[in-house]
Structures are given as C-alpha cells and as structure tokens.
C-alpha cells in the first residue's frame, strides 16, 4: 500500500533574512564612508554667527590641510592625492583646472584647513590658487543648525 504524505504546514524562518539584510545595509554604509575618504577629518573653523552654507558643486577640488598639533601642517592633501611641496600642489591644481575647463565646467576649490593651523601655512595655498588663475575659492567652516540644508549650487 502506498504511503500517504500528509501536508505539513511550512513556515519561513525570517530571522536569517533580516540578519542578512541588516548586514548588507551596514556593509553599504561602511563602503560609502570609505568612498568619502577624500574629505579627511579636520576641525574646520567655527565662526560666530556662521554664514557657511552646504553647497554642492559639479566640479570641485578639495585641498585639506591637516594640523600637526603645533600650528603647522602635517600634510597637504589635494583631492585624493598628497602634495609633497607647493610645486606639486600647483601642478595638481593646474591639471584639475585644465580638466574642468576641457569639460566646460568651472572648478571650485574648497580649502579645508584645521582651525588651529597658522595663517603662514594657508597663505601659500591661497597664493598658489590665485597664481593658477582660480578665482572661486570656498573656505570650509562649521555650519550652524539654522543654515543646514541651505542652498545647493550647480546641480
């Protein structure tokens, strides 16, 4: 006699799926953090009654001046690259300027200097930018809460 199989109620265990979903979310969050590593963490200036706004530019070059703890600069980072000296900084800026012009865009330079860095280390960067012919320079600063979600340019 043939054996009869009785239909059994099947339950899907959702726990591993939820675990996996959360792990994927965390993975992509971390991956995006690495993607943003171009902006090295520095303590940007904190102005009184800050006028700084969040802005987005289609073509930008971020120059980061990392503090060495004594008022000097540990390293100059131009975009994802490190500049050993001002000649190298100039050549990277010029190259980026040329590429932006070739694409018909205006290169926006963002200077992100630590608030404790002395002006003598920032001044040569500004001079180099002026000599290259870049007029549009943006200074990174902390935003007050009322300025959050401010204007967005160029997009």
């Amino acid at each position: 006699m043939a054996r009869r199989y009785e239909p059994r109620s099947m339950e899907v265990n959702l726990t591993p799926m939820i675990d996996l979903t959360f792990n994927l979310i965390i993975f992509f969050l971390l991956a995006s953090q690495f993607g943003r590593s171009e902006t090295e963490p520095v303590h940007v200036p904190r102005p009184t009654n800050s006028q700084a706004r969040e802005m987005k530019y289609p073509s930008k070059l971020i120059i980061t001046l990392v503090h060495d703890g004594t008022g000097g600069v540990r390293r100059y980072k131009v975009g994802p690259r490190l500049a050993e000296d001002f000649e190298q900084l100039r050549s990277i800026v010029q190259e980026s300027h040329r590429l932006a012009e070739a694409e018909g865009k205006t290169l926006q330079v963002i200077v992100r200097a630590d608030r404790d860095v002395h002006y003598r280390y920032v001044r040569p960067v500004l001079e180099t930018l002026a000599q290259v012919g870049l007029e549009n320079v943006n200074l990174a600063a902390e935003v007050t809460s009322r300025n959050l979600g401010g204007q967005s340019e160029g997009l």
């Binding site: 959360f22 792990n23 940007v44 102005p47 009184t48 800050s50 002006y119 990174a140 600063a141 401010g150």
Partner: protein
C-alpha cells in the same frame, strides 16, 4: 484509550522535588520540556540595530562653505598695494599661544572690537551709516602666527555684515 498524560490534582510543593501530599520527601521529576522563547535571533537583531545606528549616526559637526574670490593673477593683496577705492582693513594679531590671545583692529577707527560679534556689528554700522557700501573691499590682514580660525571668523563677520568683496592680505 487516550494517550494524554494523566493529570494530578494533588497539591505540589513549591520546593522542587518534594511532594507535599505525602510528606515523604519523595523526588518528583519536573517535566523535561519547559517552553521558553529563543533569545538568540532577538539578540542578533538588537546587535545589528545597534551597529546600524552607530554607522548611520554622524557625530561630526556639519560642514559648510564660505565662498570667496581671489584677485586674478596677482596672488593675495598686500597692505602696501595701491588700491583705487578705500578699503576697510581688518588687522588680526596673535600675541600669545592661547586660543583667545588675539586682537582685532579696524584701521583708521578708534573703536576696536573685542570679539568677532562686535566686529560684525561695527562693520554693519559702517555699511549702513558710513561712506561704505556692500561693494567696498574688505581686506583681512593677519600675521603668520594667527590661527586660521580667527581669519575665517573675520571673513565670516564681514559676510554677515553683508560685504561682498572680501579678501585676505598679508602684513
């Protein structure tokens, strides 16, 4: 005949293993399968949620930009340069290593601000009542040892006072 276990109505001691009804101290076996929720998936989810919110949370102060324009092809302005219009020159000096060891001076003004908020108020007053307008050039001049924070603060105060032509200079 039913296979269901027989139920007893005898009172059972709260102390495990003792049967109160007989008082004989005879060991009575507790049922082997005690129903309890499986905590492992819940702990998994809680930890995942914890990690998720730690990653998603941003502990840094949000950052914005102060747009400025540099003079074309000339580098930074210097105090000795001939400038056709009368600019407002703000001089910053650092006289000590401390964060607040700085002095602000507005050239040709007797009144010197003691804070950047005061600088903003003075500049606004100059623009609204004085001979200056929004297009008047403001030059922030600083020595090499002045903290970048102070320069940006002075720049920000000029912007807040609605001046549009602000640049940095060197001493």
């Amino acid at each position: 005949m039913s296979d269901a276990p027989r139920q007893t109505t005898r009172p059972v001691s709260l102390e495990p293993g003792k049967d109160e009804s007989t008082g004989s101290g005879r060991i009575r076996r507790l049922p082997k399968h005690i129903s309890q929720p499986n905590m492992t998936p819940m702990i998994d989810i809680v930890f995942n949620l914890l990690i998720f919110f730690l990653c998603a949370g941003n502990f840094n102060q949000p950052e914005g930009l102060l747009p400025s324009r540099l003079p074309k092809q000339h580098g930074l302005a210097t105090v000795g340069d001939e400038i056709p219009t009368t600019p407002i020159r703000i001089t910053l000096q650092q006289y000590g290593p401390g964060e607040n060891d700085y002095a602000i001076r507005i050239e040709q003004r007797a009144q010197n601000p003691s804070s950047f908020k005061e600088l903003e108020d003075i500049l606004r007053g100059l623009r609204e009542s004085g001979p200056f307008d929004a297009q008047t050039q403001v030059i922030v001049v600083a020595g090499g040892n002045v903290r970048w924070d102070h320069l940006v603060n002075a720049f920000n105060a000029s912007l807040a006072a609605r001046f549009e032509n602000i640049t940095f200079g060197t001493q």
